[in-house]
Symmetry: D2
Subunit: 349 residues, 4 copies
């Protein structure tokens, strides 16, 4: 049985695990002061072309989102995002638990049943912002302090460089911070024709480089590319329970991920497999795409008979019921997806 349910159903990439093994007996400092974390920061700064970056290593995505948003927002501020944003849907209210409202922007065009693309559209964002700042009762409403986007999105889609630049301009026009959740960043960077780490570092006020879903056992690297981290970041992180005592665990892993382009290669490998799977499903099986995703999450509308057959070979998630006769399913590849695993889905098998 092969598994395509998620990109966190695996261990660590061999090179990451190897680095943990070879450094295991070394004694280090803690709480982010270990030299592995130090060197990993240097490598990330280089990869981002952002030598002023403040970088922090946290353990997981939900923790990171809540900790960072609570750190960059004033207590009375909320965060804008699209309706499918992870912080709005699948974090059990972690951001609200820190006291902030998650403001999901309604699309201007909201035809019932349309398949959204999972992206925050600038037109929708600006419409919301124009309405808010024109509202005479704005003082009684939650003031937006930041915009949150995921790259790639929860539906696997990507913002183009141009779209990111436009969002950046909107944030600048309205005095908002732009925060990019990069839980699956490796896959996004690998699939994007024009967005790379340096552009992300130029355009975002803060973003995180996902480790857990991209080759690490655990760990996310938060980057404030302009040396603009809030004051007393260590205390802010600690009071959210996000400061790892044994920080070298994540430092070592990111040192490996950012050596010899491993992070990007991890992304490329998964995208390669995703493309193969997609071509197979579209061309051989004739499945329709539910969402046209260029990254490692692929969504298909699959007829019941095929679902039964595929179920016997592979594990994958039911995404959503579209109507009486159609259901969408999600297949996820990762750095760990082998050629054999993709081949096993072949119609002829």
């Amino acid at each position: 049985m092969t598994h395509f349910e998620s990109d966190y159903n695996n261990g660590a990439h061999a090179a990451v695990l190897q680095h943990l093994i070879e450094t295991n007996d070394e004694r280090t400092q803690s709480y982010g002061d270990d030299h592995f974390s130090g060197h990993a920061r240097e490598l990330i700064r280089k990869a981002c072309h952002a030598p002023e970056s403040d970088i922090y290593f946290l353990a997981g995505g939900t923790q990171t989102n809540a900790t960072i948003l609570d750190s960059i927002l004033e207590p009375f501020e909320g965060v804008l995002c699209c309706e499918t944003a992870h912080i709005n849907v699948h974090e059990s209210g972690a951001v609200e638990a820190t006291g902030h409202k998650v403001i999901a922007v309604r699309p201007l065009d909201c035809k019932a049943g349309s398949v959204q693309d999972g992206k925050l559209h600038n037109a929708d964002l600006r419409a919301w912002l124009d309405a808010y700042f024109a509202d005479e009762t704005a003082e009684h409403m939650v003031r937006p302090g930041a915009v949150y986007i995921t790259f790639p999105t929860e539906l696997g889609t990507l913002y183009s460089l141009s779209e990111l630049q436009t969002l950046r301009r909107t944030c600048d026009d309205f005095g908002l911070l732009l925060y990019v959740d990069g839980a699956r960043l490796a896959y996004g960077l690998a699939a994007s024709p024009d967005v790379d780490l340096p552009s992300l570092a130029r355009l975002a006020d803060v973003f995180y480089i996902g480790g857990t879903k991209c080759g690490a056992l655990c760990g996310e690297a938060v980057v404030f590319p302009h040396g603009n981290a809030p004051t007393h970041m260590l205390s802010r992180i600690k009071r959210h329970g996000a400061l790892l005592a044994k920080s070298r665990v994540v430092g070592v892993q990111f040192e490996a991920l950012f050596t010899d382009d491993l992070y990007l290669n991890i992304g490329r490998q998964a995208i390669r497999q995703a493309i193969r799977l997609r071509e197979m499903f579209v061309n051989d099986y004739g499945f329709k795409l539910y969402i046209d995703s260029p990254t490692n999450q692929q969504f298909f509308i699959i007829p019941d008979a095929d679902v039964e057959r595929l179920c016997r070979k592979a594990g994958f998630e039911t995404w959503c019921k579209i109507d009486e006769d159609q259901t969408a399913f999600r297949f996820v590849t990762s750095w760990a997806t082998t050629d054999e695993e993709i081949e096993s889905l072949n119609k002829k098998q």
Copy 2:
């Protein structure tokens, strides 16, 4: 100049003020233990036909919503409401400040530009709930613990008894508490053909009787009609800064409001004036209704020329711009609105 901007631009109803005056020199207990609060509770229990009620007096509406919701919800629970709900729009995130997500239910029918009626529709609510409880990832989402509605709504509209009963059934089906924000309750009860205090007490798990907007200087009475207040309510209220030391101030006012049907008469008086104003605007001026409200908030689409003329006589709020040529305005009556004030708006004046 007459004023129709709000129903909290006035002092207290004469009878309420008189009772404050005549009791002023009496020494009382504090923190809710004073005999005025005690007697006011008895009067409210009688008026609600709910002898088991736990009743608490707080100072203001936003404070009440945040305190009560935080008291009836588990830490991981959120509250469902419609998009125009006060807690979702105009409380600067007071509910989120206590750690809970405000879940605004999207209407199933969301044609851009439609005028909503400010009500939470059962069909929309059930659709959301069915989807939530069918979602295999629900554990990662905010669990709903209560449904919040305002009576009357923020747009002046009313739920019929039948609609309340339907919402009650939905709450029962899904194990949710029903909380009714009665900031303008007097006006709702006066205008409603079928909802009275006893029905509210039967159908809601907790509701509050608004004082500030309905004849008091300040104060709201929270009612748990089935004696179902959470444990240690005084501590819960105090830690939200909502426990008045000089509780007799609100106790005395509610004692007056619930003597000789004053609360309902206050409502009737304002509705009478609202109807007169509405008839005048619709019949004499020919204005179209922006929202068909039966209560003390009235919304009209008024042509620019008329706006200028009315502005010279009265103060009223711009509600929203509908399109290039049309803007909606709100006129609010209260117990304090006199016949002369209504008459001053007469087209012939």
Copy 3:
């Protein structure tokens, strides 16, 4: 039966009530924009000799402490105070409810059983601060952002001008804000030989002038004397449920309190009665003082036999059991305490 249990067992001072009566029918703006609040702010600025003051009217003391502290502290900061501080003992954790630690400074000299004077001593505060800033692990501890003191203290005692200046210097040396809780300020100012409103305005970063316990039905005036209120104060106040819609209620009362020196006269009246009561108890009855308080809260060690006799004439609080044979009791006077009420305690009656 006369009542000395508290200074919030009464209504409003006659002049305050009168002003509420005479302004009752006027229509005003809301949320602090009413002209009564505006004029009251001007009067307070004058009385404080602080023309740059930002002033906000809230409803009650606990609400004020939690709202203001959460507004002036960074999320990761805590507030220093002495062990008997109201925020540390009697607010049901309202400050912690906003996410901040209340750091009670241990007295260097802590002989068990000693009667404390309810004051934060500079030596104890400096010792704590020196230890904190010398601690290499300080980043893992809660960072202090402000110092909280009450004037008068919870035990009725007063800081001298010199003591306040010393605390000010300490705050400056360590970069801390000084916040003064003036729940009973009128009584403190009346009894203090050297501290007046202008000195408080000079030395504190923010303080509040208590209304509820000093002549008002409800209300406290928060003063940022140097125009140093945090940004977006209205939103910060609103999200704590502390923004009164009908703000004129508190504005009118403070307008009255700051006309014709009423606030100070209210204080002097209560102190006069407190002194009479004290002389009577010490000289005629021979009671020992439990705490040597110069303000309206008086504490005596009273033998059982006398307690019984006094109980028949007056209501007063048991303060604490000192040992097997001795208990301390508290008698509180206020602006409402009449000569007759004091006279009724006379030993000969």
Copy 4:
């Protein structure tokens, strides 16, 4: 240079690392549903003789304390502990960040300058509880909901079984939950003559088995031994950012730790080295003990000259300055401390 600064300056125990390596390529479920976590729970239940246990794996200690306390306390409840408790000192206010007060119990005997033993003494606890529940103003104070102790304590000391039973009785008498922070549990169990996992499981309402400091790269196992976990624990954990998506990482490590008595052997190894180090320092060097600790944290008063000499061979923490001439230092051993490392401290070297 050898290192004795902490017990989290190392990687993972060889057996734990080996198990991560051999399971790395296996695909698993997530969020705690993976079979490694499942089997690790079984092993822990067995080791605790508590077959009904609810067990959750979190990433780190501070996160665990805040998440668990917020889950077992009502919003208005606080947690009692001793003054040196980790949650009171070194978690940057993580517990307060969730809205709860940390109530540090003052020792009845508080002679300035005495060396405390880091333990919560039952007499002090009962005195506090008796005073609280006898206080008529208790409703205005934070109500205690749980008692927090660390085993071993922050000063390396241990509660005897009898002391734990006494605390248990006190908790039962006052209706409090007993929560044991076992960040260094392996070392405590190894050094304790009478406390083992089954006794902890019998006496505590909830405790955690520390992984990070006891052989794991990361991870802590929270145990509710009586199947008494709060409802919806996954959502509670997730909203605190404490739910690891790749849960198998901690599951695998605890599976290794609870196979072949590894956890206890890890403890014994460290204690062996601690004893050797202690004997060397006390007998050969003649150092006085600052705290008489039986576990892996050892505290000595070391003269300056010796400090200089030791500094050249080893890294260790300055603990605190006792007076002008004496300073205390801490040496920490762990499962990773080798015979050579201890030998290197030999006076003759």
